[in-house]
């Protein structure tokens, strides 16, 4: 397997606070890595850097062996999607949120593709016509995931996306993600839940004080 995303001696300092200290790791193509660690240890920062929403103050991040700066930011972010911890729907309606990735590319909305993902995440297509305020937290988070997945990114970065969900919603999200992973989606996800990190990760990294303190191989395959 070739490296999909790799960090080489990455550090990030904001003001006089060093958030990450010379960390290096690789995510292989089609792999699923989970990241655990205490709050404020730098876990989410790793994802922000991998999404190119923030740049490191030291080191280089590679995508398919090339520095991410060599890709146009829009192209890179369309291939490496990032789903935030807090589900957030913009505008007024679910349809508006799911139409955005299409209109942004100058394409018409592909309802067939939306339905595929709705089925995958146990969602009723009627929700498409609802306003954002009518959705539960679990539904919002799944809509956010679907919004990131409409154009089949190669890598999905997940920042504690199930932290606020109940058991049933968490199960649906995990099932949908694992199905996509089986189809080749590379996953890099931060989780606060040690059991989930084992269930979903082939490898698990532990981050403490801006350093990777442990990297365990959990499963060859999921």
């Amino acid at each position: 397997m070739a490296s999909h995303v790799s960090f080489e001696d990455i550090s990030l300092t904001v003001g006089d606070r060093q958030i990450l200290r010379d960390i290096s790791f690789s995510v292989e193509e089609g792999e699923s890595i989970t990241i655990i660690g205490p709050s404020g240890s730098g876990k989410s920062t790793i994802l922000k850097l991998a999404s190119s929403l923030v740049s490191p103050t030291g080191g280089i991040i590679f995508f398919h062996g090339k520095p991410i700066e060599s890709y146009a930011p829009t192209e890179y972010r369309q291939r490496v999607a990032y789903c935030f911890q807090q589900p957030y729907l913009f505008g007024q309606t679910v349809r508006g949120n799911l139409a955005f990735p299409f209109t942004m590319r100058g394409r018409s909305v592909d309802t067939k593709r939306i339905k595929e993902l709705f089925d995958l995440f146990h969602m009723d297509l009627d929700l498409l016509e609802k306003s954002n305020t009518e959705l539960s937290g679990g539904e919002m988070q799944r809509i956010c995931l679907i919004r990131s997945l409409l154009f089949a990114p190669e890598v999905l970065l997940l920042d504690e996306v199930t932290s606020a969900l109940d058991t049933e919603n968490t199960e649906w999200v995990e099932q949908g993600l694992m199905q996509l992973h089986k189809e080749g989606l590379t996953l890099l996800q931060v989780t606060h839940n040690p059991e989930q990190s084992v269930r979903m990760g082939q490898r698990r990294m532990t981050v403490k004080d801006g350093l990777i303190t442990d990297c365990e191989v959990l499963h060859g395959e999921l």
Binding site: V14, S51, S52, L53, V54, S55, E69, P73, T74, E75, R77, Q78, A81, Y82, F84, Q86, Y88, F90, G91, F100, P101, M104, C144, R147, S148, F151
Partner: protein, 257 residues
């Protein structure tokens, strides 16, 4: 048609009673604005007297360079004042100057080309002042709306960037809302013209003895040129100021980082 009575200095002095009334209200209501009212009134008088002498000289000289010079001073002043509303926007005064300048130049060029105006100080200076001051207020509103929205809607912008949107796609909704917000007062004031208020230029022309029908023609031009200048200025200012919130890597520059 009654003719306009020239004001004597004595009459003007009598009118200071009006300021005294404002001071009395402030004193009675314990607003503690008495000194500020007096200061602002005195400052207005001094500024207007100075401007009166300068304009008297420039109108007398009737030289395009002087006329252009006054317009430039007006533009710089509008840029500095408009820029003050753009706290948090890098190069706000430059953006205000460029946008107000382009808006005013296009509008004035159309009016000159259509022979509505001629390049004389009597016409260019008051008309130029009107279009630039209107654009300055609108650009200021646009700046404030954009800075507020970029603070309150950071998450939305980050999400859109993460979806692979360009910076302008990510802040398109913010920009559109800011443009509507800053053009709305012009639309509202146009709707109520002549009903709620008689506009300044029309009032001035009627006071100076022009027939209301003639004054209305000028006022219609003023409304149209306000729409034109303000629309151009806020579109440019909005676009340029939104760009300031992103770096070359198309990342949002966080206001609290």
């Amino acid at each position: 048609m009654g003719s306009f009575n020239a004001l004597s200095n004595e009459s003007l002095l009598m009118a200071t009673v009006l300021i005294a009334m404002a001071v009395i209200v402030s004193y009675q209501q314990k607003m503690r604005l008495e000194l500020e009212i007096l200061h602002s009134a005195l400052r207005a008088v001094v500024q207007l007297v100075v401007v009166g002498y300068v304009l008297h000289f420039i109108f007398g000289a009737d030289h395009p360079l002087f006329t252009g010079g006054v317009l430039l001073v007006m533009l710089i002043s509008a840029a500095i004042n408009g820029g003050k509303r753009g706290e948090g926007i890098t190069h706000a005064s430059w953006i205000a100057g460029v946008s107000i300048g382009i808006g005013a130049v296009i509008t004035l060029a159309i009016l000159l080309g259509a022979n509505v105006l001629s390049f004389t100080p009597y016409q260019m200076i008051p008309v130029g002042g009107m279009v630039m001051s209107g654009a300055m207020v609108a650009v200021g509103l646009c700046f404030r709306q954009i800075t507020t929205s970029f603070k309150s809607r950071q998450q939305e912008i980050q999400i859109k960037l993460a979806l692979g949107a360009t910076p302008m796609q990510a802040c398109k909704a913010i920009l559109r809302a800011a443009l509507i917000f800053s053009l709305q007062p012009t639309i509202d004031s146009a709707k109520t013209l002549g009903i709620v208020s008689l506009p300044g230029m029309m009032t001035g022309l009627i006071l100076a003895g022009m027939s209301p029908m003639e004054a209305i023609k000028y006022q219609i031009i003023v409304i149209f040129m306000s729409f034109s200048t303000i629309s151009i200025a806020i579109a440019i200012a909005g676009y340029l100021s939104c760009r300031q919130f992103f770096n070359a890597k198309e990342q949002l520059i966080l206001s609290d980082s």
